[in-house]
Amino acid sequence: MLSKLKKASLVVAAALTCLTLVACGKSSSSSDKSDKVTIRFSWWGNDDRHKDTLKAIKAFEKKNPDIKVKAEYSGWDGFDQKMATQVSGGTEADVMQINYDWYLNFSPNGQGFADLNKYKNIIDLSGYSKEILKAGNIDGKLNGIPHGENTRVIAVNKDILNKYGITEYPKTWTGWEKVAKTLPDDYYPIEFSSFLDIICYITQKTGKTFLSEDGKINYSQQDLQDGFDWYQQMVDSGVTPSRKWVMDTIGHDSIATTKEFLNGKLTGFFDWTAVLNSFSTNLKQTGMKLDIPPFPEVENAKSDGAIKKPTMLFSISKHSQHPKEAAKFLNFILNDPDGVKAMGTSRGLPVNTKAQAILEKNGQVDDITKKAINYSKNTTGVMESRYMELSQIATAYNDVTDSFGVGKISSKEAAKEIITKVNAAVKQVKSKTN
C-alpha cells in the first residue's frame, strides 16, 4: 500500500510538471520514427459507412504503402462533443468529416482548418461546380470539400397511392389537395411540418432563399405570414397532418421509423434526398416501394424552391503534420476510381461528377438514388445558408413553428416572431466571433 501511494504521488508529481511545462504545447504528432507516415481520419456514421470507408482506407494503403491511415469513427451520438473537445484541444484528426454548419463555429474566419487551395495540385477539383465549392469556402479559404449535395425532396409510397387509384402525380400543391380528398381520412399524402418546408413554398413564390450567406433575412414579414397561412391550408385540406399530430405520433424522431409511415397512412414525406435510402430500406421490408414525384409548385413559381445544401464536407486539420499525405488521401477517396468504388454510396451520392460517373458505371447506384439524382438535376433551387442549420437559429425557427403548429400563435405573430428571433440568434452568433 505504501509503495503504491509513493508511486502514485510520484506519478502525480510528474504529471504536474508536465502540466506546467507543456500547458501551451500543441498535440503530439502521430508519426512514428520510421519512414511510414500515419494520418488520422475521423468520421461518424452507420455500419454501412464504416465498412465502406474502411475498405477505401485499405485500398489507399495498398497503393501508398508509405502512408498509414488510422480510422477514428463512431456513431453520431456524442460525436459533436468529441469533435468540439478535440478541436479545442488541438488534437483533431488530420482528415475529418464535417457538417455544413460547423464551419461557423470551428472556423468563423476561415482560419480553423487548412486552406485546401494550397493542395489544388494534389486534389482534383474539376468534378465540382463552382457553386458547390462555395459551400466549403470561408473568406476565400477552401476549408472543406463537400462530399455530396442534399436537396429537399418529396417522396411517396407508390403502392398506397396506386391502391387508391392515383397513378399520375399532381404537379401542383392544389393537385395534392385533391389527392388528399381521394385518400381515406386518416391517410396523409405528404407529411411535413418543419419550417424548411414552409420556406420551400415561399422560395417558389419569391425565388429567394430565407437567409442570405451572411445570415440576413430575405423575406418580408408578409412573405412569412403567407407561408404559415399556406401551411395551415395544407393541414386543413388534409395534405399533411397537423404539427400537434406529428409531435404526438412521431416525437422528434425520423418518420422513417414510425408505424404510420410503414403502414402507409403517412403516404409521403418531405425531407432531404440523403435520407431517402433509410426510408426506402425500411419500407421495402413491408413489401412497398418509394417513389419520387415531381416537386409540386405554386402557379407562376419563380423557382422550383427545392432547397439545397452540401452534405458532409471533408477538411484537413490546420495542425496536421502531414497535410500533403492527407490531401493525397482525400483525393483518393474523392476522385480515384478505386477509392470512389470502395466508398460507395454510404455517404449518399457524391456531388463530384467524376465520382458519380464511376459509381454509375460500376452499377453501385441503387434505384431510389438514381431517381434522386435525376430529381436533383432537374429541379432548380437555392443553396441554403450555412446559418440555417446552426443550432441557435434552428431552435429559434423550430420553436416558432411549433408554437404555430399547436395553435398558440397566429400566422401573423409567427411571422413576426420568426424575424425577431432569427435576427437575434444571428446577431448572437456574429457577436461571438467578433
Binding site: Y73, K82, T91, D253
Partner: protein, 290 residues
C-alpha cells in the same frame, strides 16, 4: 380453541400473507420488466416490424441480428469491445472500493483540521454539471500525454474522486456505533485493523453496493471513453453499441442495436443477481423474518 387450531390459524394467515406478497411482487415485476421483454422480442424483428407493431412476439425467430450485431460493421467484434470494457471497469471497481473506503473512514472516525471544509468539497463536486469541466479535463489529460489511453478513465478512481461513493460510504459508516471501534482498541487493534476487521465486514452490503454501481455505471458510461479514446480498437461496449446509430446517414439496423444492448446488460445482470445472493447471506445479521 385448542392449541392446534390456533396453530393452524396462524399458519393459514402466514400462507395468505405470503401469497399476497408474491402477487404484489409479480405485478410490480411485470410492470418493471415488460418493456424489457418487449425489447427482447424486438431484437428478433425487422425494422419495419419493430416500429410497425406493438406485440412483442416476433413473426419468426431469427438469430441473425445477434450474429451480425456481434460481428459489427467495424474492424472488431464485440469480443474486443467486451474485453476493453472489462479492462476499464475492473480496475475502476477495485480502486473505487479501496480509495473510497479509506476516505470515508477518515471522514467518519477521525478529527483533523479542515474536515468540514474537505467534506464540503466532496459533496459540492457533485453539484457542477460535468459538461463544463469536460474541456479543461480533456486539456489536462492532453498535457499529461495520456489521451487515447484508459488512464483518464481509471486513475481518478484510485484517488477517491467519485464523491457519490465517498458520501454513501460515509453515511453507512456513520450508522455503525463507535462502541465497536472502542472494543477493538481495547483488544489492541490499530486504526487500520479496526477498519479491516471491524468496519469493512459490517459494511459488506454497502461495499457490495459500491461494487455493483461502479461496475454498472462504468459499463454504461459512453461519453467519457468516447472523448478520451480515439482508437476504435480501445473502445468499450458502450460506444460500440452506438457505432451504428445515426439515422441521418442511412439505414440503422435497430434489431442489431437492441440485441447487442441486451447482451451488454448481461454482465451487469449476472453480477447483480449474484450480489443479491450475498445480500441474503447478510440476512443472518439483519433483515426481517417472514
Amino acid at each position: 380453541m385448542d392449541a392446534e387450531s390456533v396453530n393452524n390459524k396462524v399458519r393459514r394467515k402466514h400462507t395468505i400473507n405470503v401469497v399476497w406478497r408474491y402477487v404484489l411482487l409479480i405485478i410490480t415485476a411485470v410492470i418493471m420488466i415488460y418493456p424489457i421483454i418487449w425489447l427482447l422480442g424486438a431484437s428478433f424483428k425487422s425494422n419495419a416490424e419493430i416500429f410497425g407493431s406493438i406485440g412483442f412476439l416476433p413473426k419468426h425467430i431469427d438469430w441473425s441480428s445477434y450474429v451480425k450485431g456481434w460481428k459489427t460493421g467495424t474492424e472488431y467484434t464485440f469480443t474486443t469491445y467486451f474485453l476493453n470494457s472489462f479492462k476499464i471497469v475492473i480496475p475502476k471497481v477495485i480502486f473505487t472500493v479501496i480509495s473510497c473506503t479509506l476516505t470515508a473512514y477518515a471522514f467518519t472516525r477521525f478529527d483533523f483540521p479542515g474536515k468540514k471544509f474537505f467534506f464540503g468539497i466532496v459533496i459540492s463536486t457533485l453539484f457542477l454539471p460535468a459538461v463544463v469541466t469536460r474541456i479543461p479535463l480533456y486539456i489536462m489529460w492532453r498535457n499529461f500525454h495520456l489521451l487515447d489511453s484508459y488512464v483518464p478513465l481509471i486513475l481518478p478512481t484510485l484517488f477517491a474522486q467519485e464523491s457519490f461513493f465517498v458520501f454513501m460510504l460515509v453515511q453507512f459508516m456513520r450508522g455503525i456505533p463507535k462502541e465497536y471501534d472502542e472494543a477493538a482498541i481495547i483488544d489492541g487493534c490499530n486504526s487500520f485493523q479496526i477498519l479491516i476487521k471491524i468496519l469493512v465486514p459490517m459494511m459488506k452490503p454497502a461495499i457490495i453496493t459500491v461494487v455493483l454501481f461502479q461496475f454498472i455505471w462504468s459499463m454504461n458510461d459512453f461519453l467519457q471513453p468516447l472523448i478520451y479514446l480515439s482508437s476504435v480498437s480501445k473502445f468499450p461496449v458502450a460506444i460500440a453499441l452506438k457505432m451504428a446509430t445515426d439515422a441521418s446517414s442511412g439505414f440503422v439496423p435497430w434489431n442489431q442495436t437492441i440485441a447487442m444492448s441486451l447482451i451488454a446488460l448481461l454482465p451487469s445482470l449476472i453480477l447483480f443477481f449474484s450480489a443479491s445472493k450475498s445480500f441474503v447471506d447478510g440476512m443472518s445479521a439483519g433483515g426481517i423474518k417472514g
